[in-house]
């Protein structure tokens, strides 16, 4: 659905060891501090962010009112306005928290020594599990925030560029000579995104991890070819069923 605003299709210049640097350049939160701390409602701020995500999931960001949020969070209006200027700022804060978590998970499995396909698989798996564990935030981050425009949309586009850069590490020169369009990686990412969004809209967020084999297939196929992509996909399937 939403955009990848940079349309550059250049070969990734992402240094394998420098994912953190790229995340910073994209001005995304990379706060590993949030990693260990689940979104349990400790503070008022967190309660508000949880209530925001829940209200968005129920009625959409557009129809969500400050009243819905403060009621869900069990805080006063005054408290809300001490912490946030308006609904948009609250959405952005919620988006920041979600992205910090997602980027944290990806940085965790990202290693210069790991084969590319294994890294992509592990990162995708971690991402799907994160989304499945927080369905309201998944919906807010992937569907409502990009549609809301402004800073939320910018953050979403930045996150997509980071994922694209990770995928493009698998790109090697010969494939461009074989007539494979420069947009192939972007198409693969879009396919994965739509599959995930579709699953969330169908109300099946808890089953997102089951999409791993299909996503591994589509994001590796432009770079590794069909036979190897199918093999990687079967590996991913085994991994899910073994529960390892």
């Amino acid at each position: 659905m939403p955009p990848l605003s940079s349309q550059q299709e250049a070969k990734s210049d992402l240094d394998r060891a420098d994912l953190g640097g790229l995340i910073n350049r994209e001005q995304l939160p990379s706060g590993r501090a949030d990693l260990e701390q689940p979104l349990v409602a400790h503070s008022q701020r967190e309660r508000i962010l949880n209530a925001m995500a829940a209200a968005c999931a129920a009625k959409g960001f557009g129809a969500t009112t400050i009243g819905d949020i403060v009621e869900g969070a069990g805080v006063s209006r005054a408290t809300f306005y001490e912490l946030f200027k308006d609904k948009e700022e609250c959405l952005q804060a919620s988006m920041e928290l979600s992205l910090a978590d997602a980027m944290g998970r990806i940085v965790e499995v990202y290693s210069p020594d790991k084969p590319w396909a294994a890294m992509v698989r592990d990162a995708t798996r971690a991402f799907l599990e994160l989304l499945a564990s927080r369905p309201n935030f998944a919906r807010m981050a992937l569907i409502e925030a990009p549609a809301a425009g402004g800073r939320s949309l910018e953050m979403y586009a930045s996150a997509k560029r980071v994922l694209q850069a990770v995928l493009d590490l698998g790109r090697n020169d010969p494939i461009e000579e074989q007539g494979i369009p420069a947009s192939a990686g972007r198409g693969a990412l879009a396919a994965a995104e739509q599959l995930i969004v579709g699953q969330i809209l169908a109300g099946n967020s808890e089953r997102l991890p089951e999409l791993l084999p299909d996503i591994v297939y589509i994001v590796t196929i432009p770079y590794l070819g069909q036979d190897e992509a199918l093999r990687q996909s079967r590996e991913a399937e085994k991994l899910i069923h073994s529960g390892a």
Partner: protein, 221 residues
């Protein structure tokens, strides 16, 4: 505000003897078209029932006789537009024989239809997400409508049976995503030139990169 479309036939004002259903159908059609125009222009949130009735040239009473609220009206307008679009795509698809050519023709029709009305295209594929959960589900259904065009790839592909069950959804997702990128970047006029990229994104899910590149090279040169 866009001008009310003068292209559509309207029943003459004043006393006339047209059957009631004909009048109602024409009002409904006008309203649905007006709704797509107004929402594409103003956004779903800011658009009011008054905006819709004014653009359609109908009364509020007529509006509420047809729909309970703005959302119901928008959902009907969205569905109708998708329906019309899919008729074009399907008939282009069915006019060809071999699957890669069928896919190419379907995608070409899709791009032509979307490029003809960029504001509406953006509403259909991007801004619809801002219209609430029910509209988002309609969007999902619209993307699903594309998958039958791709399912045939399974019979065409040499290793079709072993492909992921979601192959057609992956292909549809890539197509829609690449189009949305272009719309968001305000490059709707560039849509027709996306054909070879979209065809590749469709074929690769079934045939792999090499065969997909060969097919695209042969068809679109």
């Amino acid at each position: 505000m866009p001008q009310s479309s003068g292209e559509r036939w309207r029943p003459p004002r004043g006393r006339h003897r047209l059957p009631r259903e004909v009048v109602e159908r024409s009002q409904r059609e006008r309203l649905l078209e007006a709704t797509m125009r107004v929402v594409a222009e103003k956004g779903y949130g800011p658009a009011t029932v008054t905006d819709l009735t004014r653009e359609a040239g109908i009364s509020r009473t007529t509006f509420y006789a047809l729909f309970v609220d703005k959302e119901a009206c928008f959902l009907a307008a969205y569905d109708e537009t998708v329906e019309r679009l899919m008729r074009q795509v399907t008939s282009a698809y069915e006019a060809q024989e071999r699957w890669p050519e069928r896919a190419r023709a379907g995608l070409e029709a899709l791009l032509a239809e979307l490029a003809a009305d960029p504001a509406q295209a953006r509403l259909l594929l991007v801004d619809v997400a801002a219209a609430g959960p029910a509209a988002q589900r309609r969007y999902r259904a619209a993307v699903q409508r594309l998958t039958p065009l791709f399912d045939e790839g399974r019979d065409f592909a040499p290793g079709g049976r072993g492909l992921p069950a979601n192959a057609s959804r992956l292909a549809a997702g890539a197509v829609v995503g690449l189009i949305a990128d272009e719309l968001v970047a305000d490059r709707a006029d560039n849509l027709p030139s996306l054909l070879s990229d979209l065809l590749f994104a469709t074929l690769i899910a079934y045939l792999g990169p090499d065969a997909a590149a060969r097919e695209v090279g042969e068809r679109t040169r």
